[in-house]
């Protein structure tokens, strides 16, 4: 080892043995500290979850008239929430798969909880269009099933493509996550104290013994799954963008939409990973695994994504001007000067201007700063999602139908309720399953400490 490598920073800091890695990772499950913090958070997020349940019950009883939707702006919060949550759900599988294929060592600390984030975010995203259906009990009509009426779904509809994309994505993400968990479940089977915990972890560990044959097949399957995950992730938000781009509305019918949506999805997803990483670092004492260097590299990704977002926005303006289309040009003018203009300036500020602070290494390594900017990015991305829905529908071809969307209390309750439900599921996850992939971190630690 050269002198330069000897002083090089490591991805795992302050760990002396493999056993310490195992003990730290199992601690939140088997011997939790700071339980009051967890209970307070659980109570808070549980209350918000309950609010979401009440909102949805009220929605099902009274119909979508409880939301601010009107005859012009027929898509409102649920669709924006859908796109936003699905975007957040993109980072997990992509971090896990792309960083595995490119052999990035910082993947190990992030992939497990980022994949959990994906599962919870995509579950919430999948519910949103159902809430918006008006007749949610006819949801199954989108599924091809044998029926006496001899009906089939309309395969040329972007909404049917959504069903296949989101359904595949959530199934795939759950499989990928579970397979990665199996060696760690075997570790929990051996470490759990109560008989029932051992039995339950043991059942889900499938009898994993760490045999060379197990590993051989596991590694192959996991790598092929990663190879499949990357095109899948790219396809999912591309298909979602077709809900908009396959229409004929001004501001929506753009060929830039699929890549623009995919980058936006990664952007918000990475920002959410920062927030969760900071929470885990603080709540579960995972400081050795989630170091300032991890925040540094994610901040670089966020910076790159913010520049791509800025270029995408500018491309939209240029396209509107260059097309010479009256409706397109009016829409851009409406964004900058209409009633939604403050929100639009907020979107540009949070998504493009503020993240430029990441050019500074000091900001990238300052965890509170990275977290605050990440939260602002998530707000900015939500503004982008709602404005994509609102601005086009508020201001399309026919001036006589131009209207403004005024959100109701129920709109906000659904949004914040879904945030609470996300937090609630994540809190349960960290106490039941290892939030860090122990087997990958053991390998990484051995590599870093090999002398």
């Amino acid at each position: 080892m050269s002198a330069e490598e000897g002083t090089r920073e490591r991805w795992i800091e302050g760990i002396d043995s493999l056993e310490e890695i195992n003990a730290r990772i199992c601690a939140p499950i088997l011997s939790p500290a700071h339980t009051w913090r967890w209970w307070v958070s659980l109570l808070f997020s549980g209350t918000l979850t309950l609010i979401m349940v009440v909102t949805v019950t009220w929605l099902f009883a009274h119909g979508i008239g409880i939301f601010g939707n009107n005859t012009t702006i027929v898509w409102g919060f649920p669709i924006a929430n859908y796109v936003w949550w699905l975007g957040i759900g993109h980072a997990g599988t992509l971090i896990s798969a792309l960083l595995l294929l490119t052999r990035q060592k910082w993947r190990g600390s992030l992939n497990r909880f980022a994949e959990a984030m994906t599962l919870f975010a995509v579950s919430l995203a999948g519910l949103m269009p159902v809430f918006h259906l008006g007749r949610p009990y006819y949801l199954y009509w989108i599924i091809p099933y044998p029926n006496v009426q001899g009906l089939w779904p309309q395969w040329r509809s972007a909404l049917v493509w959504d069903f296949w994309a989101v359904g595949t994505y959530i199934t795939f993400s759950a499989l990928f996550w579970y397979v990665g968990l199996v060696p760690d479940l075997a570790m929990l089977r051996e470490r759990a104290k109560s008989l029932w915990a051992r039995r339950i972890y043991g059942a889900f560990a499938l009898g994993w013994r760490g045999s060379a044959r197990h590993w051989e097949i596991y590694e192959r399957y996991y790598r092929y799954m990663a190879g499949l995950a990357v095109p899948l992730v790219v396809s999912v938000h591309s298909i979602v963008s077709l809900d908009f781009a396959a229409s004929l509305e001004p501001g929506w019918a753009d060929t830039i939409y699929p890549p623009y949506f995919v980058v936006g999805a990664l952007y918000s997803g990475f920002a959410m990973v920062v927030v969760l990483a900071a929470a885990l670092r603080w709540g579960c004492s995972f400081e050795p695994f989630i170091t300032p260097r991890h925040f540094d590299v994610i901040a670089r990704v966020l910076l790159t994504a913010s520049i791509i977002m800025g270029v995408s926005y500018a491309t939209e303006w240029l396209w509107a001007w260059y097309s010479g289309d009256r409706a397109e040009r009016h829409l851009v003018a409406f964004l900058f000067t209409g009633p939604y203009a403050p929100l639009y300036y907020g979107q540009l500020l949070f998504n493009v201007v503020v993240p430029q602070a990441f050019w500074s290494a000091r900001v990238r390594r300052n965890i509170p700063a990275v977290v605050i900017i990440s939260i602002l990015i998530n707000v900015g991305m939500w503004l982008e999602r709602i404005l994509i829905v609102w601005s086009t529908l508020s201001h399309d071809y026919l001036p006589s139908v131009w209207r403004i969307f005024l959100p109701t209390l129920w709109d906000w309750l659904l949004l914040f309720g879904s945030l609470g439900a996300f937090m609630f599921m994540f809190l349960l996850f960290v106490r039941v399953l290892p939030a860090m992939p122990a087997h990958e971190l053991r390998k990484l630690w051995l590599e870093e400490n090999a002398s």
Partner: protein, 170 residues
């Protein structure tokens, strides 16, 4: 009834070297238990294998894509044709998205089943679970598995110099 003894090693390198030596002396271990994958150790085992997971997934994916397309074609052309502006019934560009997804979905699910089938999982019972030391194999140890045999055990102790030997009896 199968009985084993396990040779314990501290490092992946140690386990790898021992497996290589044993294999060269025609005493190839039946298996290696380790808390992380040891790249390349598979070729020193008694029965090395090259599991065709990739091929299984490829074929499953191809079948999934074909079925996805066939379902749409059958529905739109044969069973429920909708004539709209005399556009072709087989709208293949619009029909490519569903096969793309069913391709990945089938490859992933069949791959999972193949992974379980080829690894012999789920395995609720295995004689190796009776040795306390195998619990450590999923935490931080490296264990070479040999069939239980006095002379072989002596050979292993003399030549491979493991940290310890453990017997497994049912």
């Amino acid at each position: 009834m199968s009985e084993y003894f396990l040779a314990e090693f501290d490092t992946a390198h140690g386990a790898m070297e021992a497996a290589r030596k044993a294999s060269q002396a025609h005493h190839a271990p039946q298996d290696v238990l380790s808390h992380m994958p040891i790249e390349g150790i598979d070729e020193y085992l008694a029965r090395p294998q090259k599991p065709p997971v990739g091929w299984v997934m490829f074929i499953a994916g191809a079948i999934g894509a074909a079925l996805g397309y066939f379902m749409q074609w059958y529905s739109a052309v044969i069973d429920y044709p909708i004539i709209s502006g005399h556009r072709p019934l087989n709208s293949w560009p619009a029909f490519l998205l569903v096969p793309y997804e069913t391709n990945i979905l089938c490859a992933a699910i069949v791959g999972l089943l193949a992974w379980m089938w080829m690894s012999g999982l789920p395995k609720p019972y295995h004689p190796l679970f009776f040795a306390n030391i195998t619990a450590r194999a999923v935490e931080d140890r490296y264990l070479l598995v040999f069939p239980r045999d006095e002379t072989l055990a002596e050979w292993v102790t003399a030549h491979l110099k493991p940290r310890a030997l453990h017997e497994v009896r049912e």
